[in-house]
Symmetry: C2
Subunit: 320 residues, 2 copies
């Protein structure tokens, strides 16, 4: 793994470091979904994680490695999604000030939740402003530390702890599957899964319409796609990360493309049969397993249900 | 407890008897909901139970006490709700034939789920037929055993096991709260809660518009109300049970009336914050705790989330 942004030891260290700040989420199973998938599925319920997604893992790991001086200056992140809530919650837990740069038209539920976790919200206009530039300005002006959504060794290692726990709780998995946006969750998963005594293949699951990582893997280098249209808002990324992609390329078993209709079907199954609220991005890996998108010899599959932050209006429109 | 339909020993025996057939459901907590309720809430997640509600507990306890001959002849139940699925699933697990009498206009999702569990469905016309008479005819003609929805000692004792597990898992509760339809769940809860070394008050939570049990408690005997209008379809019962009511009257701490609007608010909170799918009836006890309907000295509260069987169309209409 030389030259990659993190090692197995980084994930293991993150696991120890963040244990007090995050939930060890349960692994759930469903006979009915096993029958549909014709496999044994083990769902790592990061939708039940603090803040409603895995994002608090990476954020906590990042914040715990700041110097006292950096903590005093606080952090900044740009996100209209789960990363916002993960950073806000991690910061509050550690008594660190957080500014989150969010689009002015972000769903009020997400803005309210992030503010509810104690972060200051800085609104920007999606049409005229550049949120990365705004964050960079805050870093330069106030000395706040940027907490990137995925392209950071501490973030990648933190996200890997979800898979580490899953591998601890369910021995003998044939594969693990994680959704892919910027690739932090999958990269962390791939590192820890590859390091097992019997290495476990780690697959990514990406919306068919937002297949920047799948395409990049096909040609062996990062490609950028146009703004993707997918209900999986957490996977609307146009290019894999600079740090995450080399890890995915070297250590992941592959990335499967998930059609939009299968995302809705998987959400419906997980909600009606497992009684778990999941968001579209959160169910990508489940969709891959339920719809026969994985190799047939993969019988015992660990599935990261990565998040459950969806407002009920949207939910009603998608599956009602 | 002399003269009551069941004793503590019946619940304890049921617990041992049914352990292989039912899930020991998890107890979940939420800091945010604790803040809203200004109490510590411990949610017993029977929405994650097999069949999506606590109903399999009583059904399994009943079926396991049938003679070989009775098991060969099979069972019959009338229900358009969770009891149908509980009986169907319990019967399949024990290799017993089950006929479920369901209204012809029951939601197709519930009919399909019940059939999917292997039961035969007998449709009746809600306007012209009497489902209890149909079931009685099947009992007389085919020798099948009736599995009543609540007014049966084996059913009451079985439902009590949910509270038994909750009391085992969370020591030091100040109260437990269960939804009330026919009263089986609350009666079972009251029996086991009253028998603790430090007896735990058991409260019922009933829709304000379907308050047959609250009214009956006020006058000390069972009264019948008109057909209630409430979104909590599992609590649309017009009179408390003949066996359940004396237990509730003698052993329960009271029954609180839950306004319809608070049911929807509680569903929204449980779904968006705990990421759990719950049905309106399933969230009655949570609504009571979240909306200040319990005595203020009740600080550590066990809440039975009794079920999560709701089709997503209905869900979208209620909370979307």
């Amino acid at each position: 793994m030389s030259g990659l942004a993190i090692t197995t030891a980084d994930v293991t260290a993150a696991y120890e470091r963040i244990a007090n700040g995050v939930h060890r989420t349960p692994v759930m199973t469903s006979r009915l979904l096993d029958e549909i998938a014709e496999r044994h599925l083990f769902f790592k319920c990061e939708n039940l994680q603090r803040g409603g997604s895995f994002k608090i893992r990476g954020a906590t790991n990042k914040l715990l490695q700041l110097s006292d001086d950096e903590r005093r200056r606080g952090v900044v992140a740009y996100s209209s999604g789960n990363h916002a809530q993960g950073v806000a919650l991690a910061a509050r837990g550690l008594g660190v000030s957080a500014v989150i740069v969010m689009a002015a038209d972000a769903p009020s539920a997400k803005v309210d939740a992030t503010r509810g976790y104690g972060a200051d919200i800085l609104m920007y206009d999606r049409c005229t402003d550049d949120r990365e530039a705004i964050a960079a300005e805050i870093v330069a002006r106030d000395g706040r530390v940027l907490v990137p959504p995925y392209d950071d060794p501490a973030i990648i290692a933190g996200q890997g702890t979800a898979t580490l726990e899953l591998l601890q709780d369910v021995p003998g998995l044939d594969a693990v599957v994680a959704p892919v946006g910027g690739g932090g969750l999958l990269a962390g998963a791939a590192v820890i899964a590859a390091s097992q005594d019997r290495p476990v293949p780690a697959f990514g699951a990406e919306p068919e319409t937002a297949d920047d990582t799948a395409r990049s893997l096909e040609i062996g280098e990062r490609v950028e796609i146009g703004p993707p249209e997918t209900i999986a808002d957490g996977a609307r990324v146009q290019m894999p990360g600079e740090l995450t992609f080399p890890i995915v390329r070297e250590l992941a078993a592959g990335v499967v493309r998930v059609p939009e209709a299968t995302i809705v079907r998987a959400m419906t199954l997980v909600m009606t049969r497992m009684k778990l609220v999941v968001e579209p991005t959160g169910v990508l890996a489940a969709a891959a397993a339920l719809e026969g998108l994985l190799p047939t010899d993969v019988q015992r599959v660990g599935i990261i249900l990565s998040g459950g932050n969806i407002d009920l209006e949207t939910l009603g429109q998608l599956v009602g």
